[in-house]
Subunit: 309 residues, 2 copies
């Protein structure tokens, strides 16, 4: 149970990062799109094929050095069920290559509906007595605004498996403070209150390496809060978006880690996916450029935190 498997992947590769797979068509080299459109037309099916082929190249180039991928559901849903099928194929391919897969869906609901999301994304679905994976990711991002009723169905799966969830605590965007930074009448911020809830929920699903199955999303763009939350939530593993394109650097994310170099995984999406554009290399080299950027990012972060024990 818990994020032990993710942490083991991170230690083995000495790389506390995750590659975001948010494949906008703009990011994808023309030759991949042309080939997909030739087969399926300029349709959702064609676009979905291009997304998958692009992801496949990235996964092949990254899987021996990057422990995890984080596909963002929105970029698949925008191409209808065909796009959603590309999400499913991407998850399956990344798992086949040994990567830990975090579906970034920020799902939230209650009761039987949340059970359905839990089954869809980190559990299994029953059809007349046979259980099958729908999307079958290893972890899911979750919005906790609805309280325990929205988390319990996920916890029920986490307690009996090595699956995990990341709950939005302090998000990386400029307006995150409109609600999250507001102080409650006990003097605590909303984000800190949500963080405390994560720590409490996590007690039901502890891990062997110090972190429970209930993680938190905390943005790289709020480095002070990262440090505050790391100290306050000793059993809550952090997924940290906002590195790179959103402005966070290695120094900003360093406070997310504990003294063993554990406790967080740092996401980069555009930085890795669009490395070929930034480098100005040939489009055919997009995956090699992604690998170069992933190595640069790894080395930069590890230079701040040292060996991951």
């Amino acid at each position: 149970m818990s994020f032990d498997r993710l942490i083991d992947n991170i230690r083995e590769k000495q790389n506390p990062t995750v590659a975001g797979l948010d494949p906008k068509l703009d990011y994808i080299p023309d030759y991949i799109k042309a080939s997909a459109y030739e087969k399926y037309g300029k349709t959702f099916e064609g676009a979905a094929e291009a997304l998958f082929e692009f992801n496949k190249g990235l996964i092949d180039a990254l899987c021996d050095i990057v422990p995890a991928v984080k596909p963002q559901a929105a970029y698949y849903e925008m191409y209808g069920w065909q796009g959603v099928r590309a999400l499913e194929r991407t998850i399956a391919y990344a798992k086949e290559k040994g990567m830990f897969v975090i579906t970034d869906g920020k799902r939230n609901d209650i009761g039987t509906t949340m059970q359905a999301y839990a089954a869809a994304h980190i559990g299994t679905t029953d059809i007349e007595g046979t259980e099958a994976d729908a999307f079958g990711a290893d972890a899911l991002t979750v919005n906790g605004y609805l309280g325990t009723d929205g988390v319990k169905p996920l916890l029920d799966i986490c307690k009996n498996s090595d699956k995990g969830i990341f709950i939005l605590v302090k998000t990386s965007n400029p307006s995150s403070g409109e609600l999250q930074d507001r102080k409650l009448d006990d003097g605590k911020t909303v984000y800190r209150t949500m963080g405390d809830m994560c720590e409490a929920w996590g007690e039901e699903a502890p891990g062997k390496l110090g972190y429970s199955s209930v993680g938190a999303v905390v943005g790289a763009t709020y480095t002070e809060q990262l440090g505050e939350l790391r100290a306050a939530l000793p059993h809550t593993f952090f997924l940290v978006p906002g590195y790179g394109a959103q402005g966070g650097g290695a120094a900003d994310v360093a406070p997310a880690f504990d003294e063993k170099g554990r406790g967080a995984v740092i996401n980069s999406s555009r930085g890795i996916m669009c490395a070929w554009k930034k480098e100005g290399c040939a489009p055919e080299e997009y995956a090699a450029a992604a690998r170069r950027e992933a190595i640069r990012m790894r080395d930069e972060i590890v230079s701040y935190i040292g060996e991951i024990k």
Copy 2:
């Protein structure tokens, strides 16, 4: 723009309710499942076909008396992309029958990612210069924990169309108060603060009938808060879940309406979908039973609020 079209549908049918389409396999008569499995096996494709056929029967039976449907994305996602295709087919069919379609997805994210969700669910997706509907609903439920960055991409669509959004304010579940009822340091609750944000966001997309394109989800199970919010948020249209199976009755939801009988649409999911089980009628009559329950619910609510002007 705004919810004018929904309100017009409600006035025309004198029925302020929406039928939730949360088709669990358990709710679906055996003869529909048997036929779907015969065609596609006991697979996600078979299950998805059963969901769609069940929904189609409900839509046919309800479309002349119920103004809107609310498919809940989770129950489709649990059957993988095949289930998601059933969601797409359901939305298209309900629109063809003149119903206003609210996708209950509680989506949330920021920036370009939220743009992708907005395109997916209430906007259109561009593929090499051609715009197409991915899911093409009329409205989407949204979680506002991330603040304005998560709402603006939706507002951009609402401002130039007749689409709308419903933001979670006070949800119907028992644990909704863990965060939502907490008081901020200015003495206002979190839910009221979120409600005020809805009212402010809505100023950018006002409607001709008094309500903006930014609605709020407020549970039937919290009748006092319904009244408080109705008074405080005069331009915010309410989507009210929790009627029936979750315990809310017509008296509980009456405070959601304004003096013209406008201002809210009340959802029933299980009550309508499972009416055939509750009645104990023949499974082949499930749609007729759903219609009988929809009429009963309409009459009960209208007896409290009077004519919808």
